[in-house]
Symmetry: C2
Subunit: 244 residues, 2 copies
């Protein structure tokens, strides 16, 4: 039976981390909210969220349905899918390591979101632009190098070599790191121009993931939505800046 | 061998969610950074973070050491400890459900933090007070009722009854919800005065956890640090407000 992915239509957002894992594995899945017909579309997703499908109550999309099992939160979904898609390391310690890295990615992505929404998610970006400039400047100067430097170090110090973040095989963490770099290149091209040379292993990982056959095919398909200013990674030139 | 918990000294912070699980279970653990002597103290924690203890590289505390296994991020640590401490539901679906709830708690706690640090974690609260007032107002008006209402619904719709959040037994999620309510009562007493009556099952869970023998003993001990204005839950009266 096909996996059912539930996520907002129109943006890559947090759903994209799940899509990349499903696409790389060539898994059979339905992107429910983006579909047409019975049981598909945004209303089908909202029905589950509002009416409740016990014992599952999601706080927010994305969530995944696999038969009778519902799972919410990106890292939790990937923890579940990883072994099923062949995108998870073996062994408990390694799986917790992958999950820990994914949770650092979760935090990084939340901070990216807050660069354009520092005061209230319920308000327009245009109504919090001045605060966004301050938050984005601190993000670029302090947080980006901290996170990028961290993931670079994880790759560089991997005993199996810098090609993957956990052990000697591709995992969902690597696919998520690809998406983070893609997003940063879109949202903060000037800042990334300065940082790319400081994280060579991370950029090499990004490039190698982008050349994998299933990923290449996915990125060229209509299933891959373009980045836009409704998603998490947004390009507002006034928030981007060069780094010294 | 005792579990080793690594977290900043002087605050409850994110480490407290781990402490509550260890204390409820009566587990043998060392709170490393708060200790004195060889291999203890904040420097011992920083040594691991800076020098790297391959293959483990933590992004930030808290992290846990169990023999040769290192694990970082609160939800990840609780996922690991849960079955060992008897604080996790049985079965894969239920464990992912508990993990999903814990990740919603993680997000809630991050939003609590950002009420006093909306612009930059590196700057003092006093230097971002005006922005904090806007963010806190939005948090109290929109986010608190959304999260509290969510967890109330999870309890109310639990097929096994509203005493626990997952199934019919205590889990680490319940202990974390206790801590969230404790923190909100400290940080936003006026807002909580308005919200408490709207989430009776959540407040009942909070009260029942607070009466468990091991928790009572822990809260009365010196191991329980008081809330303060260096932690995540901070009381700044100018950020708190009554709700209609």
């Amino acid at each position: 039976m096909a996996y059912e992915l539930y996520y907002w239509d129109g943006i890559q957002g947090r759903g994209e981390f799940i899509r990349l894992a499903l696409e790389e594995a060539g898994a059979d899945y339905v992107d429910v909210a983006r579909g047409d017909g019975p049981g598909l579309g945004t209303d089908a997703m909202l029905d589950i969220m509002k009416n409740g499908t016990q014992p599952f109550i999601p706080f927010a999309p994305p969530f995944l349905k696999d038969g009778n099992v519902f799972i919410s939160h990106v890292a939790n979904i990937l923890l579940f899918l990883g072994p099923r898609l062949g995108l998870s390391p073996e062994g408990e310690a390694q799986r917790h390591m992958a999950n820990g890295l994914q949770l650092s990615i979760t935090d990084f992505v939340a901070e990216v979101h807050d660069t354009h929404h520092p005061l209230a998610t319920s308000q327009y970006y245009e109504d919090q632009k001045d605060a966004a400039k301050i938050r984005a400047a601190s993000f670029i100067k302090e947080r980006m190098p901290k996170y990028l430097g961290y993931f670079e170090r994880v790759l560089q110090e991997n005993a199996a070599g810098p090609s993957y973040s956990v052990g000697n095989a591709l995992s969902y963490v690597d696919l998520s790191l690809f998406q983070v770099i893609e997003g940063l290149l879109y949202a903060f091209p000037k800042a990334m121009e300065g940082y790319a040379s400081r994280c060579p292993a991370l950029m090499a990982l990004h490039d190698s993931i982008g050349k994998r056959p299933n990923i290449l095919r996915y990125l060229a398909s209509e299933r891959r939505l373009p980045f836009n200013e409704d998603g998490i990674f947004r390009h507002y030139s006034e928030l981007d800046q060069q780094v010294g």
